[in-house]
């Protein structure tokens, strides 16, 4: 009888030990630290930018000047045209000027003057054109202006001979450093 009781106790001990081991197998929860996920993401990109020196000038329209009249006793009246041609310029620099020249001189007795409307802040003056470049506008800086006027004045003396259809000359304007 004692031996049977001992056997039962031994059996209960086995079962109790087995259940304890089973209960200990429940894993702990995963750590909560990994829940801290970043909600923003940042990325940087390098953009290379540059602005080069820009100097652009263009002329629109040709000009036809005709000397037709005179005041008796005072010589021929000049022909003036300030509406047929305009010019535009863009420069992102300072200390610029515009010079003008003819490709060839007119016949004796004929002279051509030019006055440019200067961009804001510049200085301009009427000048006699020749084959040698001459300053027309100075102190130009950082400008982008269009439809600036060119006013031509053709003078002729009585010594200038009538020239039929006229003499064609090319006027060149150059935007350059002072």
């Amino acid at each position: 009888m004692r031996r049977i009781q001992a056997t039962y106790w031994l059996t209960f001990a086995w079962i109790a030990l087995f259940m304890r081991i089973s209960a200990a197998q429940t894993p702990p929860p995963l750590p909560g630290a990994i829940q801290l996920a970043a909600s923003t993401m940042t990325l940087s990109q390098s953009i290379t930018v540059s602005v080069q020196q820009i100097n652009e000038l263009s002329i629109s329209g040709d000009v036809n000047l005709v000397v037709t009249t005179s005041t008796p006793g005072s010589g021929l009246l000049p022909a003036v045209d300030g509406a047929s041609a305009t010019y535009s310029l863009t420069t992102n620099d300072q200390g610029k000027k515009i010079v003008g020249s003819l490709d060839a001189s007119f016949s004796p007795g004929i002279s051509l003057f030019l006055l440019l409307e200067g961009p804001l802040g510049s200085t301009s003056s009427q000048q006699l054109l020749s084959a040698s470049p001459i300053d027309l506008v100075t102190a130009i800086g950082y400008s982008a202006e269009s439809d600036l006027t060119l006013t031509y004045t053709a003078n002729a003396t009585v010594d200038a001979a009538p020239n039929g259809a006229g003499e064609f000359r090319t006027v060149t304007l150059t935007l350059m450093d002072n």
Partner: protein, 167 residues
């Protein structure tokens, strides 16, 4: 005989335990977590050079483009991309204008809304808003550099543009 019975009883009990062990079941917790994922990558560098103008007009803007790829798993519809620069572009240039402008137009990934052309500065601005969860690549990123005559000139300068995905 008694000894035999005892041994037999123990054997039966042991077999019973083995049987119990073989039928044992257990469970454990498997935790699955998907963290907030926000990734953006830009395909290539960009260089913008203004070098020409039509006489009488401001210098011709320079344009260049690249693409970006994005992955976000936030479906709340409030995810957005902001952009800012390391330096104020308007402060660059040797002229009196202080008006150099760098703008970006970021196409939106599917479901998002592009802010269109955005002039960049040191303060972050939205370039894409209302994004849903998306994973997309080859999304257009277009830059434009504009200047006036008063901007003057600028030697090659790097501007760092920082993009941030915000939920």
């Amino acid at each position: 005989m008694k000894l035999f019975k005892s041994v037999a009883l123990l054997a039966v009990l042991f077999m019973g335990m083995v049987q119990v062990a073989s039928a044992q079941s257990d469970n454990h917790v498997v935790s699955v977590e998907i963290q907030a994922i926000n990734e953006i990558a830009i395909a290539g560098d960009v260089s913008l050079t203004i070098s020409a103008a039509t006489a009488g007009s401001a210098p011709t803007p320079a344009t260049a483009g690249t693409t970006y790829a994005i992955t976000t798993n936030d479906s709340g519809g409030t995810t957005r991309i902001t952009a800012s620069t390391s330096v104020a572009p308007a402060s660059l240039g040797d002229g009196p204008g202080n008006d150099l402008a760098l703008s970006v137009s970021a196409a939106a990934p599917t479901g998002g809304t592009s802010s269109g052309s955005v002039t960049l500065g040191t303060v972050a601005q939205n370039v894409v808003t209302a994004m849903a969860a998306v994973s997309e690549s080859e999304v257009a990123l277009s830059y434009t550099l504009t200047a006036t005559a008063a901007t003057g000139q600028l030697a090659s300068t790097d501007i760092t543009v920082t993009y941030t995905i915000i939920n």
